[in-house]
């Protein structure tokens, strides 16, 4: 997005500059390396259990967004379109922020309800486990 609108439009019309094969292969190597890092981290976790599951998942989600950015920005060329188009695509996608938070929180709440309100009083269940741990 460091290009001016004029430059972006000119490049799009003449078909060189931004879409040069050099950029394409650079993007390919970035995507490949990120995927290799993901798989390597997964194996590291399997072997040593080192990055804890929570940290590992956060890294995976972060790297997924990095990959998504490069595919959309370079391969789909969105980075080099004019700002109006970029905004009309990206602003509606912000709904996903609410979408993800609301639904995952809902799922989590369901799990807690199923655990806490399951048949057999929950208080008994906790005292039983406490007694078990004391002995």
């Amino acid at each position: 997005m460091e290009h001016t609108q004029t430059a972006a439009v000119d490049d799009a019309r003449h078909g060189h500059g931004d879409t040069s094969t050099k950029t394409i292969w650079k993007t390919f190597w970035i995507l490949l390396c990120v995927t290799i890092v993901e798989v390597a981290l997964a194996f590291l976790h399997l072997e040593t259990g080192f990055p804890s599951r929570l940290v590992l998942n956060a890294i995976f989600i972060g790297l997924t967004i990095v990959k998504a950015f490069f595919i959309v920005a370079e391969f789909m060329h969105l980075r080099h379109e004019i700002k109006n188009l970029i905004l009309t695509i990206l602003i509606p996608l912000m709904l996903f922020v609410w979408f993800i938070i609301a639904f995952l929180a809902d799922g989590d709440s369901w799990k807690n309800m199923r655990k806490d309100l399951s048949p057999g009083t929950p208080k008994q269940a906790t005292t039983v486990t406490n007694e078990a741990s004391h002995h």
């Binding site: 078909g15 490949l32 188009l85 695509i89 799990k111």
Partner: protein
């Protein structure tokens, strides 16, 4: 778009396309946006169910096989190959679009053909994986895999896996068909007569979107 473009142009004043792209390309973007919400809804419902469950099967236990490897324990290997194939076919697609900008019919033909090969290879891999899982007893409504904590898992796991990878596979299939149609038109010289290869760009957008969705499917089902 015939007139010269300056930075101070009044895009919304009328007389121009405010997005500086053709109608067809803009509509492809809007279609992809709606498709993103469809896939998003599927993946988020999968996430909701997974958050709702007290335990879930370990993907490294389920997806540990590769063709010709017998019973070797190879988590992530086969699906990494599938991911590589799809990224590679995305690259050949951009190269086809690039060649189209230069009006190089021969290069467009070559790169489109490679993209079709990549798409077909990906579908073949998915077909192998589905067949393999089917023979292990997994299908819609059937789940032979245990949860991480050793308890029997519900069929949510297999239902979501087959539905979402199936829906993605359907997109890959239609992408391959579109690519074949475009390739035939390239060979017939349709776009050469038209004076531009914009159709390759539009189908290219769709193809990259399929790759984009796979990036999320890969993370949600195989990594997390």
């Amino acid at each position: 778009m015939d007139t010269a473009v300056t930075a101070k142009k009044k895009w919304w004043g009328g007389g121009y396309s405010p997005f500086n792209v053709s109608y067809g390309k803009l509509m492809m973007w809007y279609f992809l946006m709606s498709d993103a919400f469809t896939f998003g809804a599927l993946l988020i419902s999968y996430g909701t169910i997974r958050f709702m469950s007290t335990s879930w099967p370990d993907p490294n236990e389920v997806f540990k096989s590769a063709p010709l490897m017998g019973h070797a324990n190879l988590p992530l290997v086969f699906v990494s190959i599938m991911t590589f194939i799809l990224i590679m076919s995305s690259v050949t697609m951009v190269l086809a679009v690039h060649a189209g900008h230069q009006r190089n019919q021969k290069a467009v033909t070559k790169w489109l053909a490679w993209t079709i090969v990549g798409g077909a290879a990906f579908l073949a891999c998915q077909a192998w994986e589905w067949t393999h899982l089917y023979h292990e007893g997994a299908w819609w409504g059937r789940n032979p895999f245990l949860n991480v904590d050793g308890t029997p898992a519900s069929t949510n796991f297999t239902n979501f896996f087959f539905t979402i990878t199936g829906f993605h596979g359907l997109h890959v299939t239609s992408g391959v068909i579109l690519n074949i149609v475009i390739l035939i038109n390239v060979l017939k010289g349709t776009y050469e007569q038209r004076g531009h290869y914009e159709m390759v760009e539009k189908v290219g957008l769709y193809w990259h979107f399929v790759d984009l969705v796979w990036v999320f499917v890969f993370t949600c089902f195989y990594l997390l």
